[in-house]
Point group: C2
Chain length 114, copies 2
């Protein structure tokens, strides 16, 4: 290959029973819930409907076998959303995989150019 | 992670200047042109319009800096399509990358289950 501008790119996601349960977008949603303490805020930031965000979170909570996000209702502020330890671990697991995948893409982009 | 049915999946593709120029579907198209000697046959097999198939091939021919597929017109059979050496090399390059990527997915799916 003499082309000098080729590079490798891609996406990864986690599946359970051949169904996608976690990828780049859902991890971003979890991270934004973690940062804001609010599913509504996270959804707005991602230009996603509140219903869509909740459907994704419910789907993850179900498919991972334990909640990744829990709601604390009531109180002065009207309640907040919080990531469970499993939610935090899941973000870390995905980000570690994504870092390894980025290494894979970089290593093989170099091969493409040679 | 105690969930036992999680696995990692993903897609890879080759880009030039941040634009996708080759992925799973286009490699399948090239392989079907190679096998059938016909862009029309390959398009039909993939339930793709002839125009769409040709647009993809023209795009690849342009972006890879040299043709991957050439047409031989006329003759008894009305002409045929043929992969160039660069086309054959490109299929091999992609399939080697895909094999490495499958190893990556398998290796990290095992980590997910532990």
């Amino acid at each position: 290959m003499t082309q000098t501008s080729l590079s490798l790119n891609g996406r990864i996601w986690i599946e359970a029973a051949d169904e996608k349960i976690l990828g780049h977008g859902r991890v971003e949603l979890l991270e934004r819930v973690k940062a804001s303490g609010s599913v509504r805020q996270a959804a707005m930031q991602m230009e996603m409907s509140y219903k869509r965000a909740w459907d994704l979170i419910k789907h993850m909570n179900e498919k991972f076998g334990a909640p990744l996000v829990t709601m604390h209702r009531g109180g002065k502020g009207g309640g907040y959303a919080e990531l469970t330890q499993k939610g935090l671990d899941t973000i870390e697991t995905y980000n570690n995989l994504r870092a390894k995948f980025d290494e894979f893409l970089n290593a093989n982009s170099i091969n493409l150019l040679s």
